[in-house]
Symmetry: C2
Subunit: 206 residues, 2 copies
DNA sequence: CGATAGATTGAGAGTTTTCAACCGATGTGG
DNA sequence: CCACATCGGTTGAAAACTCTCAATCTATCG
């Protein structure tokens, strides 16, 4: 949607490539651009000094990222990292400003996007309080797998999205695999029946 | 700021009063209005079935609330509750739409507001992972007390903001009171030196 | 086929929460 | 103005859910 709106303006934008693990921008630095993904997958992470990482958001083809800091007018609060080979178009501050100027309908979309992301973030915040680790892990597995099924998500990534640890994810996956609610396939996995799995997630962990 | 922009349009808006504890809108219901606080204090809470509550945001004089759901186009994801005697102006959907239509500068402010709130929510999310309960409690005490110093914040409210429990808040407050970093005054408290208290919060809990 | 990143599993530790009992402040009606 | 009801706060002890640590195993890829 943004892509459709932005497309006419980005033909002359700068392109860059990243491979898995590459950092696109760092927490704390000042936003000079908005990024648009032509192809690939990017994760937004908060990296704590303790070494703990939190997987905040994921962006795929045709998504923009870096927009939050841009519109907030603050430095980046998190670090964006390529999760696979990724091609992005870089839209400069000046370009952004001029595009926004002439397109109020785009601002409406931007408001909507961030309103939704804010809702999700707050629901996750609340979920850490009242949901068990198992429930959160199942929800994160479903979320990530459904959003980007071709990606082989690591236990660590799922854990960082669920506010847990990779060991706990491994344990939950083994348990679900044994009960048939999930099928482990090497490092990847499949979800045969999302509804059933969601139902399981609601039970108190055993 | 919103208040200044909105003021000319809300002279004929509906006013309503609430007393402490009154629910203004419920999670799950459909947003019909945006609310503007003429005077008072409102908290946004997520109420889990387990009984656990999460204190998501606080709104004081001249703040708007209910805007996230309005702009997301979804039902409320949380419940707003008056924290003291509060007067609000109610701005209807239709009024909102027409105001937004004619005022792109207002949409820019709205984008900025939500971009900042999204950043805060995600930082809190990350903080639950890598900060101790004591650190979060101190941060929430400072945040709430500095934002609305006249309010007598309860241990429970602080706990629900810090993703902890009122017992833990009571214990931290007793400890800080004994070390002089905080002064308990009946149910209220004062912070003699915010910098010192912040420094304390960074230490690992003892 | 070796090297390396990722996954698994067990046992133990530990921060917080939970539960429960009690205390103290605040506010109201008689 | 006192007595009592209630709401909020305090404290201790025990429980518990997860995490941490460590060793081992298994994919995957050059």
């Amino acid at each position: 949607m943004f892509y459709q709106l932005l497309k006419p303006y980005i033909d002359d934008s700068i392109k860059r490539s990243f491979k898995r693990g590459d950092i696109i921008y760092h927490e704390g630095s000042s936003p000079q651009n908005i990024y648009l993904i032509d192809d690939g997958l990017v994760g937004l992470f908060h990296l704590a000094e303790s070494g703990k990482e939190t997987f905040l958001r994921v962006f795929g083809k045709d998504c923009i990222f870096g927009h939050r800091s841009f519109f907030a007018g603050t430095n980046y609060h998190a670090t964006s990292i390529a999760l696979k080979k990724t091609e992005v178009s870089i839209i400069s501050k000046a370009q952004c400003d001029s595009i926004c100027q002439g397109h109020p309908e785009l601002m409406k979309e931007m408001v909507k996007l961030m309103a939704n992301d804010l809702g999700s973030a707050e629901l996750r915040l609340a979920g850490i309080q009242d949901k068990t680790a198992k429930t959160r892990i199942i929800e994160s597995m479903i979320y990530l797998k459904h959003k980007y099924p071709e990606q082989v998500w690591t236990r660590k990534e799922i854990a960082e999205h669920a506010a847990s640890t990779m060991e706990s994810v491994a344990r939950v996956m083994t348990e679900l695999n044994d009960s048939g609610l999930l099928v482990k396939e090497g490092r990847d996995f499949e979800i045969p029946d999302t509804e059933k799995l969601l139902a399981e997630s609601i039970q108190k962990s055993s």
